[in-house]
Symmetry: C2
Subunit: 325 residues, 2 copies
Amino acid sequence: MNVQVTGAGSFGLSLARVLARRGHDVRLCCRQEDGPEELRRTRHSPHFVQDMELPQEVEVSLESDPDVEMVVLAVPSHVMRTVLEQNPFSGKTIHVSVAKGIENETLYRMSEVIHDVAGDVPVASISGPSHAEEVAKDLPTTVTAASVEEDVRLAVQEAFMSPMFRVYTSPDHIGVELGGSLKNVIALAAGICDGFELGDSAKAAVITRGLAEISRLGTAMGADPLTFAGLSGMGDLIATCESRHSRNRAVGEKLARGSTLEEILGASLMVAEGVRTARAVHALSEQYKIEMPISDEVYKILFEGAEPVRAINALMMREAKPERL
Amino acid sequence: MNVQVTGAGSFGLSLARVLARRGHDVRLCCRQEDGPEELRRTRHSPHFVQDMELPQEVEVSLESDPDVEMVVLAVPSHVMRTVLEQNPFSGKTIHVSVAKGIENETLYRMSEVIHDVAGDVPVASISGPSHAEEVAKDLPTTVTAASVEEDVRLAVQEAFMSPMFRVYTSPDHIGVELGGSLKNVIALAAGICDGFELGDSAKAAVITRGLAEISRLGTAMGADPLTFAGLSGMGDLIATCESRHSRNRAVGEKLARGSTLEEILGASLMVAEGVRTARAVHALSEQYKIEMPISDEVYKILFEGAEPVRAINALMMREAKPERL
């Protein structure tokens, strides 16, 4: 199969390698600032993935090929629209989003952004517990390929399925996309727990209650509630909240230790999607009238100057009551 | 309230402190081998909880008081029956089990063992993400008090509820007990992932699929499936699988690194409930005809001499299919 990966960040690089080893013709489409000459010459991009060699067969290019059979869109969610507008694909090209976020201006999921720009093209998303650094090392990884069209999700599964990169399928595109996006806000809260050294029990409670609120909002938005109990919901949430690889978790930890958001974001090349997603979740929870106490505290810390320690207390001191899911 | 904690292991000690600080009259009933004289004198039991001082008000005793209003049974599950037979309580005493296991010979949950020995007494269980070492340090902890009788679960909630020990209630006693017990088998699998350094993504997938199989069995046994998405299910599972405090996780890690079960259990004073529970889960999954691939691999490693590395491969190499929850 003729596949293009658009975006040479950590996930784009590691997925290009998975696809090349699977035997596809792979083009990695990057920007000038990603250093294509060096990537072509050294086959390494140490800023994004340490110790991964990009297979020789992957063509590194600045040009997008509009006629590929499949494009894997590995770009931050806030540039998805622009990237597609500047580099459109054929109506038959399967568009696979691996971005985890929600467009802030429209509150669209990534598949909605793709349809908005490209019309009625085949669209899927891949999501699930999958740190790029681990995929690059051939550590066992399981993800879910979601699309409302069965042939599309099966084609994506077939394209990626490898011994160490296992792909399940799901028809619940809404649920899979929301799980992957909303978890980054909970990861910020989990990082705050780490920063205050609150312990594993408290963090597990935040993750659990976090999934409950993700699931409430997602169900109101049309997702199947069971999806959130799966790899793309609970699985990705745990991997993100418990890993040193998670940028969103790390942002929360630094916030708890006293850094400002500007200091943290200014010091990193990579994007912490959770910061933007916190805004979108705040708007969505108001629109759908869903109580989301953890996401709400994260929003107040990020954008309303609330003290992290006060937020933790607010969460712990809620009144005695039955557990509600 | 007049409360006895039976069992001076790590959880018994830390709960005795929670109850004493809450203002109850607390007796800690221990065995001669727990060193009651030293505990009385130093108020410390460093083998079980480092750096925790047992409040002076807690009476340390070798004698059980049959007339207490509430007894907290903090003993390993395989001795619950004997302990109760030797030290019965009044018919009005609220029996609170904090043991996490299933009696191997009968496949009874702890509340069933209590009823079997003591008849129609009030029974509750406390379960949830709550490492004794963290409770002892006043780190924020949330648990669920379960009982089919509303007044009993409310009494237990009221008895324990403290600023850093938050108690929710649940009427689903079956689900809360099963979540707390079955997760120890999955924690062994998570520890095996750690021992092989499979990464955070793989481990998150094992935890997620592990909860799915716990939930399938639990639902077949009469639990409310939603309970497994709560603190006593998912929450406790995550805390156990992700913490250095977890003995069951540590056993799995050592198995993966080449130790035998006999070596591991021989070197520890504490009980790893998951080993016995793996036997019970194996029998229950056959009885209820529920597929439990992860628990099954753990059973084969523990009792049938299977190689951990083969088990991991067996789990990863399952055929491509839709995600089923």
